[in-house]
Symmetry: D2
Subunit: 512 residues, 4 copies
Amino acid sequence: MLGADSPNGRDPGGDTLHEECGVFGIYAPGRDAARLTFFALYALQHRGQEGAGIVTFDDGVANLHKGLGLVSQVFNEENVATLKGHHAIGHTRYSTTGAVTLRNTQPYVLETFDGPLALGHNGNLINSPQLRRELLERGVGLSSSSDTEVMIHLLAGAGGPGTDWVSRIRVLMARAEGAYTLTIGTRSAVYGVRDPWGLRPLVLGEIEGGGYALASESCALATIGAAMIAEIGPGEIVRIDDAGYEIIPGAVPRKLSFCTFEEIYFARPDSVFRGRLVHQTRQAIGRQLAREAPVEADIVVPVPDSGIPHAIGYAQQSGIPYSEGLIKSRYIGRTFIEPTPELRRDKVRMKFNPLPANLEGKRVILVDDSIVRGTTSGPLVALLRKAGAAEVHLRVACPPIAHPCFMGVDMASRAELIAANLTVDEIAEHIGADSLAYLSIDGMMAALHEREGDAPVEPEIRLNGNGTGTGTGSAAPLAGYCNACFTGVYPFEGVPVDLESKERFAGIVGHG
Amino acid sequence: MLGADSPNGRDPGGDTLHEECGVFGIYAPGRDAARLTFFALYALQHRGQEGAGIVTFDDGVANLHKGLGLVSQVFNEENVATLKGHHAIGHTRYSTTGAVTLRNTQPYVLETFDGPLALGHNGNLINSPQLRRELLERGVGLSSSSDTEVMIHLLAGAGGPGTDWVSRIRVLMARAEGAYTLTIGTRSAVYGVRDPWGLRPLVLGEIEGGGYALASESCALATIGAAMIAEIGPGEIVRIDDAGYEIIPGAVPRKLSFCTFEEIYFARPDSVFRGRLVHQTRQAIGRQLAREAPVEADIVVPVPDSGIPHAIGYAQQSGIPYSEGLIKSRYIGRTFIEPTPELRRDKVRMKFNPLPANLEGKRVILVDDSIVRGTTSGPLVALLRKAGAAEVHLRVACPPIAHPCFMGVDMASRAELIAANLTVDEIAEHIGADSLAYLSIDGMMAALHEREGDAPVEPEIRLNGNGTGTGTGSAAPLAGYCNACFTGVYPFEGVPVDLESKERFAGIVGHG
Amino acid sequence: MLGADSPNGRDPGGDTLHEECGVFGIYAPGRDAARLTFFALYALQHRGQEGAGIVTFDDGVANLHKGLGLVSQVFNEENVATLKGHHAIGHTRYSTTGAVTLRNTQPYVLETFDGPLALGHNGNLINSPQLRRELLERGVGLSSSSDTEVMIHLLAGAGGPGTDWVSRIRVLMARAEGAYTLTIGTRSAVYGVRDPWGLRPLVLGEIEGGGYALASESCALATIGAAMIAEIGPGEIVRIDDAGYEIIPGAVPRKLSFCTFEEIYFARPDSVFRGRLVHQTRQAIGRQLAREAPVEADIVVPVPDSGIPHAIGYAQQSGIPYSEGLIKSRYIGRTFIEPTPELRRDKVRMKFNPLPANLEGKRVILVDDSIVRGTTSGPLVALLRKAGAAEVHLRVACPPIAHPCFMGVDMASRAELIAANLTVDEIAEHIGADSLAYLSIDGMMAALHEREGDAPVEPEIRLNGNGTGTGTGSAAPLAGYCNACFTGVYPFEGVPVDLESKERFAGIVGHG
Amino acid sequence: MLGADSPNGRDPGGDTLHEECGVFGIYAPGRDAARLTFFALYALQHRGQEGAGIVTFDDGVANLHKGLGLVSQVFNEENVATLKGHHAIGHTRYSTTGAVTLRNTQPYVLETFDGPLALGHNGNLINSPQLRRELLERGVGLSSSSDTEVMIHLLAGAGGPGTDWVSRIRVLMARAEGAYTLTIGTRSAVYGVRDPWGLRPLVLGEIEGGGYALASESCALATIGAAMIAEIGPGEIVRIDDAGYEIIPGAVPRKLSFCTFEEIYFARPDSVFRGRLVHQTRQAIGRQLAREAPVEADIVVPVPDSGIPHAIGYAQQSGIPYSEGLIKSRYIGRTFIEPTPELRRDKVRMKFNPLPANLEGKRVILVDDSIVRGTTSGPLVALLRKAGAAEVHLRVACPPIAHPCFMGVDMASRAELIAANLTVDEIAEHIGADSLAYLSIDGMMAALHEREGDAPVEPEIRLNGNGTGTGTGSAAPLAGYCNACFTGVYPFEGVPVDLESKERFAGIVGHG
C-alpha cells in the first residue's frame, strides 16, 4: 500500500512513498515572521518529519535555527524568540539518503557579497552531478551531496557582486534540470521559484492584516490565516517584499508535469491544487474507480488514512455503504523494538487493528491509494479475512507503479516495484485478494480533470487483469501531469542512466 | 468537544476528557514477557501518554524499567533486554495531578517479606485520604500523593508475613472505595483485580502458543496475538500462573457501574466490551441519535477522530451521506509555541483544517462524541461556516455533562462544565449552531444495550431544548453503567466533599 | 595507588578507594537555603560524583530535586528556584552497588504522620539485613536495597504518631549498627547525627549573618562563609532550628573509631578534623614516613594530587627537594573509548604524563597515599624510569591494606588486595621499584596525634621488607581511629560473615 | 591572575587568558587512526573545551564526526567505529566569539574537485576581512564568520582543478596574515602548516610501530606512544603519507615570533618547546623571578595549578620552602547558579579554599603566572590574609600585560587590562599585597633562553614600582618570541585598526 503512512508519520520499513520536503516563505511587515513560519511548518509536517529549520532576516542579518526531528521538537519559545524579523523562510525535510544529519537540514544559509542568502528546496535535480562538477572546477568546495547546496552556491556565484537576485535566480533556472520548488530569503525580500515543469507545488497567499506568504500547500496558508491568491506557474518567480508581491517570468515554461502523486497521496486533503480541493479530487478518483471496477459487495472500507477520500468517492458512486474496517494506531513514536517471532508474522498488526464486528460475513471492497512494493497489501487482506470478511476486493486509486522516480519521490528501486515484475493477476494472487483492480491512467486523468457538471468518463475500460486499462485514452487528459512512474515517460529528454552517480560523487560522510 | 483528542494524543489545553491509565499483565512460560508487554502497552498508548513502565519477574527478582514519555520513547532494545522473565506487568500513565515526574510513574514496585510486589492501577480511590492517614498512623511513610502507593503499601502490610496474595488482595478490596482496576505481579503469579463497581474495564486473553494475559482493553490482546476469553467481573480477582488461570471472588460485587465514557470515547474502537465491538456500539449510538434528533441536511460530518463511528451510525440511520469536513493534524508533537494574537482567535485551526469544497453550500450535521467545557464547539462551528457550510447542526453522542467525576476521569470542575451552567438552548446559541441536540440518557442506555435484532428504541423523546430528554426512562436501561457525570448520581454512598483533600495531604513536591 | 583519584574525579577502573557520600544540612532564617546547599555540595563533590539532591522545607512542605551526575549538572537556576525555604538538607552520592539509578539517589524523602521527613546518609550499616527483615515482617515494603531507605522507614515508624524526632532518632541509633553520619530534615528543624563509633565525620558551623550548618567536612562550611564551631561527637545528635543549635546525647558513645582514610586520603586537604588541618596532618605523615623510611635521592615526587601533601612533608623532613614528575590530566570526562592494543599497555599514560627533564638521571622518591590492588604502581614506576629516572623509591603514606572495609568504603575484596596476598618485598619486586616502604601503623598513629611542639616519634622501626613495622606500638596511639583495613580488627563485635547478604535480599533491579 | 584556569577547565568569568585550539594529524598505515586521534585530542583538551571533531579518510571518502563539549563527551565507541581509515585530523576548540555552535566546530570539511579536504586551525588571521571580501567577490558564499572557513575555501579554490596540495597551501600562505597552525587532511596525505611567524606551535612525532603524527604539543604525542622528532619551523609545510614524512618550505619565514604565553601558561607542563620541557622553562622563570624580586618570607605558595612550576623554581632559587596554601576545586562542571549576595563577595571561594594552618603567621610569597584584568588577585590576597598569612608578596611570572592580542588569544580588551591603566604600585595597592613584582621582560627572555650551565642573568633590574624593569635589555634575548601583549610591538606591520570588523561582516547568526 502506497502512502498509508507519510502524512501520518514516517514509516521507513513500510510500503510507502515519501515526499522530499515542504517549503515556506513569508514577508509580513510588523509581524513575528518566525512564529507564523513555525505554525506553517507544523501544517507542512506531513511533507517531512526528519528535520526542520527557519531563517529570519532582521537588519541585514540572517538568524537561523534548525534541528532534527518534528517541527514541535526543533522549536521552542526560547529559540523562536531569537529569530527576529518580519521576513523568513522555513523548511521541513524528509531525507532520501541514509544518514539523517543536522548538516543536511534546510534551509541552507550563506553569506554572500550581497548579504545573507537562505534557500529551502523541495524536489530533486537530475543534472546535479554536472552542476557539482562545474562548481568544483570553479574551485568552490561543497560540504554535502545535497542538490540544495549546489543551488545555493550557484545563486551566490551567479553574475558578479551586486547582481540582483532575480537575475541570479534566472541563471540558476537556466542551469538546473529537474524538480525544484524553492523559497529564497535575502536581506530585503523573499522569493518563490517553481521549476519550468511545475513538478512540485507552490502557492501564494495574502495574510490577513498585511503581507504575503509562499507555501508548498495551501493548508499552511489556512493555518496561519492567509488566503490563497495564486498557484505559482511553471518557470515563474514570485517576489514578496515591501512593495507587495510580483510574479516574474523566470524560465520558459516546459510541458506542465505536476506530480500526480501530490494529488493522489502526498498532499493534505485540505490543500487546493489547480483550483480544486484535494479531498474532492480524491473523491472523484474514487468515483471513477467505482465506475471502472465495480464489484458486488456489502461495504466499502478504506486503508486509513490516505485511502479515506478515495473510499468515500467509491461509496458515493457505487451506493455501497462506507464503513470502517481497520483502526490505525495514532502514535507516531516509531518503535525500534523487534517483535517476537510470533508477532513478526503479524507485523501489520502493530499498525492496524481490524474491526471484526464491522467485517463479519461482509463482502468488503478495500480501497487503497496505491501499491508500491506490495508488502503490506497481502497481510492486510489476510487480516480482514481473519476478522471475518467473506470476500476482499482490493481497489487501488492509481495505475500500477512500474518505474522509479527521479524527481524527488523516494520510491523503491525498479527491482522492488511489484508492478514492474508481476501482472495484475499475479499480484492479486500474491496478495490473496478475491479481486484486484487498479485505476486506469485515462480514468485517473479524467478524474483529475473532471469539473462539476462534467459528464463522467464512461468506462469503456474493463477489468481485464491489466488494471492499467485498454481505453482509448487520448493524450489530452494526460495534459499537465507527470505520470512517469506509471508510464516510464519522463518529462525530461535525458534521464540519468546512473541514479547513484550523485552518491558516488559525495566524498564526505558523517555527523557534525 | 469531549474526547476528540485523547486517543490521538493528549491535548492538555483542549476540551477533552482524559482517562487515567492502561494496565496489562502477562504470564507466558517460555515467552519474552517484556517484549509482549511492550507491544501491548503500545496498543494501550491512548490510555496514557505521560509515562510507561514494565516489571518482569525472573528467578524471584523483579526487573523494572519505567520512564516519562510515550511507550516507544521509554523502551528500546537495550532496556527491554534487561527485563528477563516470562511474567510481567506493564502500565501506561496519564497524570491528573500537575507535575509529571518519574517518581509517580507506574508500576510501583516494593520488596516485601514475601518477595517483590508490583502494582499497576487504573482508576481513582475516593477514600484515599483515610487510607493514607491509617498508613501514616501505622508508621508507614509515603513518598507521593498517589493512590497507587497507598494500595501497594496496603498489600505489603496486609496479614502477617507469609499471608497469601489472594488474601491480601481481599483485604485491600475490603478497604478501598472507588475505581480500581489493578494488575499485580509477584514472584510466581500475575493477578488482575476489578473493583466491585466494575468502573474500569479488565479483560482476560489466551495467548496463542500458551499463557494468559490481562489488559484494560482487548485491543492489546489482539496486538499480541491473544484471544479474549473473558471480561473480568466486578469484585473479581483473576490469577494467572503455571496452573493456567483462575477467577476468584474478591469482594461482594456492588451495583455494576461501568463508566459510560469507556464506550462513548475512551476505548479504542477495536476493543470489545460486554461482548460487543466498541465501534459497533458507537454506530448504534449514532443511529439512536439520528432517531432522536433528526434534521434535514446534506451531509453527516464527524469531529475526527472520536466522532467517526457515531457519525457513520447517524448516516446509516438517516440515509444522509457520510462525508469528511474537517482534517485533523496527525502529529502529536505538542507544541509549546504561543500563537500570535491573530492566530489565537483561530486556535482550533492549529488542530483542524476544514475541507471547503466538501462543505460549500451544504447543510451539515456535525457529530461529536461529547461536550465538556464547550470551548471547542463554537470555533468548530464557525470554521465550518467560514468554509461555506450553509447550516451547521451539532449532534452530541451523549447527554449533557453536568457533574464532575471522582472515579478517575480528568474532567473539568463543575464550574467549568458548560452544561452545568447553561441550558441546551443557551449552549446552542453560545456556540452558534443552527441546532444542537444531545443524546438522551434513555436513548444512550438503549443503544448500549441494543443487540442485533432488537427493535429500535422509539424516540418518544423530542428535541425540546433540553437534550437530556423527558422520556419515561425506567431505571432498567441504566443497569450496568455509571452515569454520574450526566445524572449526578454516584455509585458510592459518600462522595468526598473536598476533592482536594488528597492534595493537601501531600507533603512532598519535586522531581527525582 | 590508593586514592589518587577520588577527590579529582571518579575512576571506576582505577586502583582507588571510594568514599560513599557527603552530607549537608542548613537552617538559616531569611536565607536561600537551597542556593547555599548547592555551593556546599559543590565543595563536597569529591565525596560522591554519581548523583546529588537537595530537599528544602517551606510552609510544611518538602521540596525535592535530585538527579544523576555532578552537582553542577543536576542543578540549574530553574530547579534551584523551585526549592523554596530557609532550611534544607543535601547529599552527594557515590554508589558502591553496580547500578547508578535515580531511585537510589539521596536524600530520601517520605511523608509521615508528622509531616515530611528527609534523610541523607554517609556510611554503611552492618546489620541492615536484620533491620530490613524486621521492617518487612512489620509489613513495610521497601523499594531498594539501600540502608538509607531502611533508616528512613525506621524513623517514620518509631514511636507512634506525634513522637518527637529526637526520640525517633534515638530509637534508630539504638537499632542501627555500623557507620552512619546523617542529616535529617523535618518541618521545623534540621538534625545531624553521628554514629556511636564516630566512623564518618560531621561538623557544625555558624553562618555569617545568622543560622547554622552541618557538613561532612569543614571545607563546605568555608565555601559558604560559615565558621566551624564544633566537630559533632560520636553518638551525638545536633538540632538546628529557630532556637539556634543544641547538641543532644543520642546513644552511648563507643570506642571512637574515626576512619583513618578520611585523614590520609578522602577528605579535602583544606578540611579540619580533630582541630587540625588535613593538609597539616598529611605533611606530618610525610615527615614520619621520611623518618621511618629514608633513602638517598635527588627529588621527592608526589603521585598527584592526593600524594602532594605527604610528599611535601617528606621533602621538609628529608631536606630532599620537592619536585613534580608527573602531570595528571585535569579533565574528568570519563572516556569509554577502548585504547588500541598498543595503548593498552600504557594505560596509565591516559591519566599521567611524566616530566622527563625533571626526572632525567635523578634518583626519585615517589610518594603515594596508599596501595590497594597495586595495579597502577607498577606502570607508574615504569613510566618514571622510561622518562629517565635513575632510581625509583616508592614510599606509601599508610600501612599495607590487607582487610576489606564493611563501614562504607568501596575497597577491593580481600582477594584483590595486593597486601593480603604478597609481602612488601614481593610487592616491591612486582611493581619494579628500587625500594618500597609503607608507613608503620605506630608511625601513622603518632603522626595523626602529633601536635606542634611534640617530639617526633623516633623510628625504632626499620625498613625491613615488612613495611608495617615491628615497633613497640602500644595501643595508645591507635586511640580514636578505625584501622581495620590495616589490622583486621573491626570496631564491632560481630562483623557480617556474608558481605553479600544485603544484595541477596534485594528483590528489585532496574531503572525508573 | 592569568591562566589559573584554562588548562584545568574553562572559566568564562575568570581572570584568564584563553587559547584558541588544539590541532592534530596522523598518518599511520594499518592503525585505527580515529582511536589514536581521540586519545591525542584528550591530551590536548586544555587547548579547547567547547567542541571537538575528527575526520578520517578511507578509500577516498572523508568520514566526519564532531560535536560540542569535551572530547570524552563528543566521542563514544559507536561513532569512533564509523571513522574508518588510517589517516585523520582532529581538533579541540575554544571559541572566542559568543555563540558556541556546532556549525563552527572544527575540522571543516569540503568536497573539492580533487577529493575531500579537511582543515583544523589554531590561531587568528588579521587580514580575514580582506580575504572574506575577495571570496565573496568571487561568488563563493560563506556560512560563518570563521577564519577557518575562509582558509578552506582558499585552499579549495587555489590553482585550477588538479593543482597539487602543496602548491595550494603555498597560495594560502602567501595570502594569509596572522597566526595559523594548520593540519590538513586529503585523500592520500596529511599536512601540517605553521605560519611564517611561528606564532603557534606544531610538532612532529614518529609512532611506535609505524606512521607519523602532528600535534600542537608534544604531550599528545606522548599519550599515543609517539616520539617527538621535530618542531615544525616557521613557514614550513610537513607532509606525512605512505612515503613517510617530508618537510617542505611553504613561505619565507619571517622574524620568529612564538607566543610567549605558550611557554608561560597555555601549554601543558609536560610538553616540549624549542627542545626544552615546559615545566623546566617555568622553573627557570621562577628562578629568575626569585633573582629579580627577592623578599624575606617563610613559604613560597603557588596559585594552583598554573603557578606551580614557577613557584617551585622560585623556591629552588630562594631557598624558601615550597608549600601549598590554596586548594583548587577539581571539578570542572561549570555552574550557572548565581551565588547569594553574601557569597558573591567571596566569589573566589567557589574555586579556591585556603589552607589556614599552612599559612598561619607566615610571610607568604604567592606566585602567579600572570595578571590580566586583576579581578582575582585582590580576593586571593585577602583570602590568604584571612587565613592567617602575616604578609603576602605577589610575584608574577611575566611582565605586565598592557596590550591586546590579535593573534588568537582571547584576552580582555585594552580598557580591561589592569596594567594598561595602573602602575605596578597602584596595582599592588589595588590588590592589597604587601609587595608586588612582575618579571622583567629581559629576565623572562633570559629564562626562556637559559640552558643548563648558563650563567644566570644577573638582576641589574631592581624592584622599583615598575615591574617591567629598567634593564639594559638588548634586542637579542627577545629573539624568537612575540611579546606584543607586553610591549605593544606586534610582529606584523599593519595591525587591524578595527578589531571588530570581522564580526560586522558576519551576516548569519544562530544554531543548526
